[in-house]
Amino acid sequence: MLESLYLVYAIFGFFSLGAISSLFTRGKKQHVYFAYIPAAIGSFLAIVLSLIVFTSEDIHITLGYQQIFDFEIFIDGVASFFILIIGLVSFAVSIYSLSYSKKFDDKKNNSNLGMLFNLFIISMMLVITSNNVFFFLIFWELMSLTSFFLVIYEHENENNLKSGLTYLVMTHLGTAFILTSFLFMYAQSGSFSFDSFRDIGIIPDYVRDIAFILAFIGFGTKAGIVPLHIWLPKAYASAPSNVSALMSAASLNIAIYGIVRYLFDFNSIDDSSHYLWWGLAIIVIGSISALVGVLYALVERDIKRILAYSSIENVGIIFIGLGLSVVFASFNLTSLSVLAFVASMFHTLNHAIFKGLLFMTAGSIHYSTHTKNIEDLGGLIKKMPWTGLMFLIGTIAIIGLPPLNGFISEWLTLQSLLSVFQIPSTILQVSIAFASLVLALTMGLAAATFVRLFGISFLSKSRTLKAADAIEVPRFMLAGKAILASSCIVLGILHFIGINLIVTAFNLPYTPLSPFEPLSIIGEDGKSFASLMMPTVLIILFSVFVSIFVLVKIMGGKTSIKKYNTWDCGFGSLSERTQYTATSLAEPLSRIFAIFYKPKNEIIRYFYSEQNQYLKKSINVKFSTRNIFEEFYDLLISISLSVLNKIRKIQTGKVNVYILYIVIALLSLLLAAGSGIIG
């Protein structure tokens, strides 16, 4: 308890040290070390702290200092699990930033980046550890504020400023919802401490429902659920890449933390049917987010926007898991509820890891090619092989193919969806079957998205000079990515680590796995419903490979390999212009899901002379897709603004009218009082 408390102080100290020292080494050449090495140490200590908390008891201390609000720190398994995620990601990102932030060295205010970076991480950790509405909100907003400043870090570009503004406003809207929900709870419990929320006792159901809806909307805004996701692609795309890695891999999880805390800590989900619709709502929202997110990721051309939309998709998958767990719990199917919960938490962990990895890779690409548009890239795997390998690992992980970690969590999610037939309600089963259909479609489209991303940007010929003379990034950036890539592999093959971690963190009623027993689910008839044993799969794959290799050598004997041009139908060597582009690659799918994009394909012909329409000078083909959600938001905003505009017109500038207002106010109040409306 005590030494872990010192650890807490140490973590705080290191991040503040990083913030301050990076501020005071402004303009120096080595300022990156002053900024990011403390951050790395602090994140590492955070990992250690969370592991300690897993094994020993929770940390719960109250620092009262003669004020209205006491500062309470409470670190239980739930908190430490998320601290672990944040620590892991920020550790990798800090190391990555040692080289990456040199990108901004020509800007003199570079050290602000380091300071805000440290503040951002520590505010995230403080949000998780604080156990009091007031301080929770303070750190929550501090997190939003620092991340906002990081988003508009390159604020000379008016565009970044705009997207940052959208981010700030949306996240503040979310905060307003969270605040309202907490205050509803407070009105019942009469104290600002979360402890009072925990043992709030019997409160009317409608209060629970209202508070839940508000909290879900609030945290969902931060998590980027559809249709509140509008800010997310803009913000992630505008921020520097190490920051977008942090935002997507760390601060997004805080929203999930909030919802988990809310569902399973402030409310004890029991088998009362009124939690059922919570679960269903979460599932529905999750499915929609997953599908919409991946659909828009599919047609994007900006790497970071693609990754941002895929974050929305993964949040959707996580929410499907959470919702299922709530539904199962509300039918008192404990083991299934545990399964679904483990699935969603595992996916949270995995998403943090591979999304951090992918964003860092995107940063590397931007670092060495100075473009984020995948149409300009190509052939990078020969220019920057290590980055390419990491990106491939991230890709395989995120589309959930064996043998990496993404497969495990999606396997678990699918299994919990398949177990739906144990629910004693037909309507529910069928609807959840639809949800699983959506999920499967999402996975397929995600695969398409990332195949496109990897194939277009890393394979085939370089499409522009930017890509042609790219070089491999410095070693710190590689190291940062390598950490996450390796943990992708480890969690994929030794899945028992992740599962045991979650089981102990949330102390679920489930016996931890031993390394050599299969991850198996037993149906209610006692037969093995499903089982998985990744290490053996690896062994099989490897032995098959070896034997095939030998076989081919024996049968094939000695043969030579000679390099030559790609077959060009005899037209002379192919140019990079004849390759498939990202747009054309996704075109068939964009035609199938046309309602989301309203794709437009316009062909403009230029003739040598208007009289003769046969000789064409050139033909321009323009293929464009639209985003229906942004159009919806534009409509909404324009309506509400027109209302506001009418209200403010009362400031007419005529003094007579102003006096008239006073008289009207007086008389109406007198009338109201006289007729007893008020008082």
Binding site: E156, L161, L165, V169, L179, L183, L644, Y661, A673
Partner: protein, 505 residues
């Protein structure tokens, strides 16, 4: 009466408090040298600050002080107003040296105008200080009316069409409003002295006396009177829909004066409402006046939200945000639970601090850029780093961003709204706050960041313009999560007074 025992020291203090500005005003009138009058004013306002703090100290000691057989009466509630007046007064006198100095160098004003400015400044301080210490509601009314006249003189300093227009509107509307307030005051006096129509005894108009007898008042007349009071003083306190003069006046005044008008004068007017609110609650229960306060407050916040979003002029935007914050305060008082009133009184101080910071900053900005238009002001953080920084901090604070002070008071206020189960008003307030956040934030960030339109050289406007702002920024940061114990006790006492109008605790 225990107050007689201490009347020696405290009476001196109070006397000094109101004599200092008068004397310095006279000095300014006689010795007309620029440097000297500046020094005199700064010194006197510093003196006022010291006296104010000492007075607060003794208030903390003896809760209520009543001297000169009850003409002057001071308790914790007045203490809060006195703090804001003396603090903001001192800082804005400091800031005036730089600001008016610049105007003087640019030949916008000549020496006589400067003298008039400093006379007005001192008189303004005097009239405002008279409000919280006077026990007699009539004198308080006279003082408030006097603040109007003096500030009109200060706004008239420049002979511009806009300033003439603003001062005329201000004079007319404020006077009409205050005449309503006087109506209400006379009504209260009447209901107080209805049993013994003794002509000419002023004590019947003393707040202490009114509170004593409040329980016996005729309910209908009290309601009528309070409506007149709230509409009247509400006009001066900038509650919608009587706020219409406020954006004009506050945006046309010289920036130090705008700081005083927004940060302090509004509080003085609201103080009048508070006093009568206490009487009304004691007489007919707090429900009636709470309802009125909530209604007017909500309307103010809503109208301010709408106007801020589309605002083109920087100082007008700040003025509307003052309307918003007065609305928040009145809603908070209306919620009427302990933490709500605590939050409201805290909010009075916080708003004074932040708003004066913003007006100082906007003064420097408009002087640097030569315009008050938001659309022409870009990239402040590049052209004047320190001012840009403090402006950013102030702006973030005023829209209720943690970890700055206003967030705390607003949080307290909203939670009191939910505690007292005024769900709909509280949610409306939250909604409007979000709109204001969007609007104000948009303008703020566009101005602070981005790249300036025409290239100008990168420097702030002199140390004297920076120091007051830095002081205020320090206060904003410190009070973000920490309220000093003396202040806490002061606020707790005054919320005690507001809740249960007992004056002897």
């Amino acid at each position: 009466m225990f107050s007689e025992l201490f009347s020696s020291l405290e009476s001196l203090l109070i006397l000094a408090l109101i004599l200092t500005p008068i004397i310095s005003g006279l000095l300014v009138t006689f010795l007309k040298r620029k440097k000297i009058i500046e020094a005199v004013t700064v010194f006197s306002s510093f003196l006022i600050l010291i006296e104010g703090l000492v007075l607060i100290n003794s208030i903390l000691e003896y809760k209520t002080i009543s001297v000169f057989n009850g003409i002057f009466y001071v308790d914790s509630l007045s203490g809060i107003i006195i703090i804001t007046i003396s603090l903001v007064g001192f800082l804005s006198s400091l800031y005036s040296v730089n600001y008016m100095g610049r105007q003087y160098d640019k030949l916008i004003i000549d020496e006589s105008k400067l003298v008039r400015y400093y006379q007005g400044f001192n008189m303004f301080l005097f009239t405002m200080l008279l409000v919280p210490i006077s026990n007699n509601m009539g004198i308080m009314w006279i003082a408030i009316e006097a603040t109007t006249l003096v500030s009109v003189l200060l706004i008239m300093l420049y002979v511009k069409q806009s300033s003439i227009e603003a001062s005329w509107k201000y004079l007319l509307i404020a006077t009409v409003g205050l005449s309503l307030a006087l109506f209400g005051t006379i009504f209260f006096y009447y209901v107080n002295t209805i049993d013994d129509p003794l002509g000419g005894d002023a004590s019947g108009m003393n707040w202490t006396n009114l509170v004593e007898n409040a329980s016996g008042f005729d309910p209908n007349l009290v309601k009528l009177a309070f409506i007149f009071i709230i509409v009247g003083f509400g006009t001066k306190a900038g509650l919608a829909p009587m706020h219409t003069w406020l954006p004009d006046a506050h945006s046309e005044a010289p920036s130090p004066i705008s700081a005083l008008l927004s940060g302090v004068l509004l509080n003085c007017a609201f103080y009048g409402i508070l006093r009568f609110h206490i009487i009304t609650s004691n007489s007919i229960g707090s429900h009636f006046s709470n309802t009125l306060l909530i209604i007017l407050g909500i309307v103010s916040i809503g109208i301010a939200a709408a106007s801020i979003y589309f605002q083109k002029d920087l100082k007008r935007m700040l003025a509307f945000s003052s309307v918003e914050h007065m609305g928040i305060i009145s809603v908070a008082i209306g919620f009427g639970s302990v933490i709500g009133i605590f939050g409201a009184l805290l909010h009075i101080i916080n708003h004074a601090v932040v708003k004066s910071l913003l007006f100082f900053a906007s003064g420097s900005i408009s002087q640097k850029y030569g315009t008050k238009l938001i659309s022409d002001t870009r990239g402040i953080i590049q052209t004047m780093p320190i001012t840009g920084f403090v402006f950013l901090i102030g702006g973030l604070a005023i829209i209720g961003m943690p970890p700055f002070n206003i967030f705390m008071s607003e949080f307290l206020i909203l939670s009191s709204g939910f505690e007292s189960e005024n769900f709909v008003p509280s949610m409306l307030v939250i909604l409007f706050l979000v709109i204001i956040f969007a609007g104000f934030g948009k303008h703020l960030l566009r101005m602070v960041f981005g790249s300036p339109i025409q290239s100008m050289k990168k420097e702030d406007l002199g140390i004297l313009s920076i120091i007051p702002m830095l002081v205020l920024v320090a206060i904003i940061f410190v009070m973000g999560a920490y309220v000093p114990e003396p202040l806490q006790t002061l606020i707790e006492d005054s919320s005690q007074i507001l809740l249960s109008g007992d004056i002897h605790n």
